[in-house]
Amino acid sequence: MGMTITEKILARSSSKKKVSVGEIVLAKPDIAVNMDTFFPFIIKALNKIGIEGVWDPNRVIVVFDHKIPADSVNVAEMHKTIREFVKETGIKYFYDVGRGGISHQLMAEKGHARPGMLYVADDTHAITLGALGTFAVALGFDIVSVLTTGKTWFKVPESIKFNIVGNFDKGVMSRDLIQRIVGDLGSDGALYKVMEFDGPTVGAMSIDGRMTMCNAVNNAGAKTGIVNPDQKTIDYVKRRTKESFDVLKSDKDAEYTDILDYDVTKLEPQVTLPPTPVNVKSVVDVENVEIDQAYIGSCASGRMEDLRVAARILKGKRIHPRVRMFIVPSSQEVYQRATNEGLIEIFGQSSALVCAPSCGPCAGYWGTLAAYEVCVATSVLNTPGRMGSHKSQIYLASAATVASSAIEGKICDPRGFM
């Protein structure tokens, strides 16, 4: 019996020939990515344990992306503590304010996430990097185990395979597909499993699109998402780094708990309604919900593919007078490329505010909502209070849907704008 890509990566990193589903293995990640909000607590933990330095300063990466720029003395002191720690321990890759962006985008851009890797991060959306053929796991505070011993425990997961065929209608994106899949599965439909995305539609997807797919799988309870690396993956990674990598793929006779078929030919744009990320309907059923705020960004959908479609829709237009719109490129590189392509000018002229690459509104740090306000966003989660008041409402959708909704002042089918 063959192995899934997940089993192969876990076997390799736990020095075993084979692993069994349900087994607990001690495995060694290839890199461990840390963001700013957890890190001061991690430093305290390392002091409590009595450890000097980190396991491997070339494999521990630190990115400031959540609370940037610092908006209070507390946060500024927090950042200062982290900078001092990075200097003391010789951590090689530190992406300070202005030098990077959202970690999950950055790790792809900088070539740190490569096929065949066991990739871990403290933040929930580490799973995004499964798009590059890594087994990407969110550890939370357990990352302390990796920073000290270079390893931690993993429960070997089962996998669900998704065979995706068909071409997207104009204005329909990979975001709509993953929202539909999450809606179909429900909050524990993929509990503790890996969602492995396959089929010609995935093959045709950009890396941006694949990252959007993997980013949302936790909403269905999945451990992570993964895409077997293909030539597109290899070309992307080779453009960004000279570091080596292993192209591991699922065997043809690997075992899956389910094989689910999706045909996107007739897929309509999807909207996720409050108060949960699994409450997913076609945009056709949600049109005419009036909005106060529109937001394009986050590690889910703040990439070139998203900004390009938004610019195409917003070009020469003004957003609705009631609406304020934030567009947040997910990294400095995305921001620069968007500038070069003239997208930033289009956004500014539409009356959208283009903001610093960071997590920002997604986690409620700024661009917050008052009671009874409604936001349509490309963020990752729509639970009450996520973006401000517990009495505000968040609808999740693709960049295309958010852009068209911003113009109309209500949730709107983007296909009419294409």
């Binding site: 607990i24 001690l26 909000t37 607590f41 933990a45 409590k48 344990i49 009595g50 450890i51 403290d122 933040d123 929930t124 969110a138 550890l139 939370g140 505070f141 357990d142 302390v144 185990s145 000290t148 011993t149 390893k151 425990w153 429960k155 909050s187 524990d188 509990l191 503790y192 936790n218 309870g221 451990k223 409620g364 989660l381 639970t383 009450p384 209070g385 996520r386 517990h390």
Partner: protein
């Protein structure tokens, strides 16, 4: 290694969200004191829960316990702070499970537990054997035993204490 606990059941339903255990407005303050967090534990579901729980009690819940943003340590710390010594659930969200283990809160998985246990029942649980005895009904219930490596982490009191103990061992 033997590890047996006895306590009273506090029963909850399916899909208890991490954000219901401790809400986001408190999480954003990043508190780390279990006694502080205990005051807010589960109050959006049961406002009097912190006052009613006794040290050593259990939470029994249905599917997908801790779903949503399970990597926030505030949830498991609040549950420990309020006196709960273990969770017995139908199934658990993976992020919450890892966070619970990391902060020394044991979780047993037991399919069908919701039908076999009532609010207020007294249970005796054996974490290393995966056995639950419902002392109120007399029934013996099967559970998945907690894997050895995770037992070691939880028994030490959580990851930090575990790693302190293991310093100098081959683990490092």
């Amino acid at each position: 290694m033997k590890w047996i606990m006895k306590g009273k059941v506090w029963k909850f339903g399916d899909n208890v969200e991490s954000e219901s255990i401790i809400t986001m407005d408190i999480v954003r303050l990043h508190p780390t004191d279990p006694k502080y967090l205990a005051k807010y534990c589960m109050v959006t579901i049961d406002p009097d829960f912190p006052k009613k729980v006794n040290k050593g009690d259990f939470i029994v819940a249905g599917r997908n316990f801790g779903c949503g943003h399970g990597l926030h340590w505030e949830g498991p710390l609040a549950i420990k702070g309020v006196g709960i010594s273990a969770l017995i659930v139908e199934s658990v969200a993976r992020d919450f499970f890892r966070t619970a283990i990391t902060f020394g809160l044991p979780i047993l998985l037991s399919r069908g537990i919701m039908e076999k246990v009532n609010q207020g029942d007294e249970l005796e649980i054996d974490l290393t054997k995966g056995k639950i005895t419902n002392l109120s009904s007399g029934e013996t219930i099967e559970a998945d035993s907690l894997p050895d490596y995770l037992v070691r982490i939880v028994k030490a009191g959580g990851l930090i204490d575990f790693l302190k103990e293991e310093k100098g061992s081959p683990l490092f």
